[in-house]
Symmetry: C2
Subunit: 224 residues, 2 copies
Amino acid sequence: MSVKTINVNKDILGVNESLALNLRKVFESNKTFVINLMAAPGAGKTSTILKLIEDLSGKFSIGVIEGDIASDVDSRKIQEKNIDVVQINTDGACHLDANMITAACSGLGIEGKDLIIIENVGNLVCPAEFNLGENLKVMILSVPEGHDKPLKYPLMFTESQALLINKVDLAPYTDFDMEQFQKTVKAMNPSIEMFPVSAKTGEGFEQLATWIGERIQAFKKTQG
Amino acid sequence: MSVKTINVNKDILGVNESLALNLRKVFESNKTFVINLMAAPGAGKTSTILKLIEDLSGKFSIGVIEGDIASDVDSRKIQEKNIDVVQINTDGACHLDANMITAACSGLGIEGKDLIIIENVGNLVCPAEFNLGENLKVMILSVPEGHDKPLKYPLMFTESQALLINKVDLAPYTDFDMEQFQKTVKAMNPSIEMFPVSAKTGEGFEQLATWIGERIQAFKKTQG
């Protein structure tokens, strides 16, 4: 089957890479650890961030960048927790890019922040192609989406360093095969860390917050 | 917040529109009714198609075009039902376009087909921008995705003529507010038809299949 290729994509990605490298340098000079959180719509990105704020804000100064096509529904939820947040509305674009993050960082103010969590646009496809200068790409796959997703959206699964398997509280009511799912993911990306969690019940978050905390501390040490 | 705009998008959409118009003429001259089925990953597109095949294949000759970034997981499920199917692998692209559908139709053979169902790439964003010569844009929002999605992914909700609210069997285990959700959608798109369904239990599919059947018959009459 012949499929159209739009070559302009490569140039866009090239420009994005150099902007992402600049961002990374700025983040490193501020000792700010950055997580790029990606998932399909409704997988639980915002509720995961809210839970992480609960678990990590005692130890670390946190900022959040919210990416959405439209609306500020999510950023208002973050603001209620007294956390600095900037909303990006992409006005149709299906992913965040390094240019948008550069603008958002001016609005957020990164000085003194230990951790910035970027909530990407709800999309299992394009966000995986655009580096944002982050230290960690973290993805969420929620149980009701089904265990066959790694084969259908491979790039997100191979690019991410951590995978949250969210909504495990719904597992008894679905045919999600956790063992098969984890086996498929490990075959595609042997070094990925997987965390079965429920942002609703809090299950699995202690382990996740500990792991992220250790990564932040290790990063700070390498930055002197 | 300033957001980068890539102007090439308009030209791509213009070329797609004229290809989509050509496709529509071909479909009409064959009296083939076409549904463009769109949803986020894991909302239940393939299981909905399998259920519709069950309900409609006694009355209508059906063909299916499956769109995925990678894999032929879905098209093999359709093939097991003895239904003609063509798999498009977009190799990274996050939506189907009219050019891909033109190629897929040669492979499928549309002569004698009353209904072609196109399963778009799992994505609530970009597929809504690309016409495929279809008669109906149908979207699925599954209950676990949450009732706040219309505000965050508005184009899909305003472009679709029908909305399946899938996985209603999971509603008791989530905080999905069906009344609020339907009210929000109706305010954005007053003429949209909404069908609460469960592709797992079959709930709501009789009504949906009847509605689609009536649309096919009405279309065939207008084509003489």
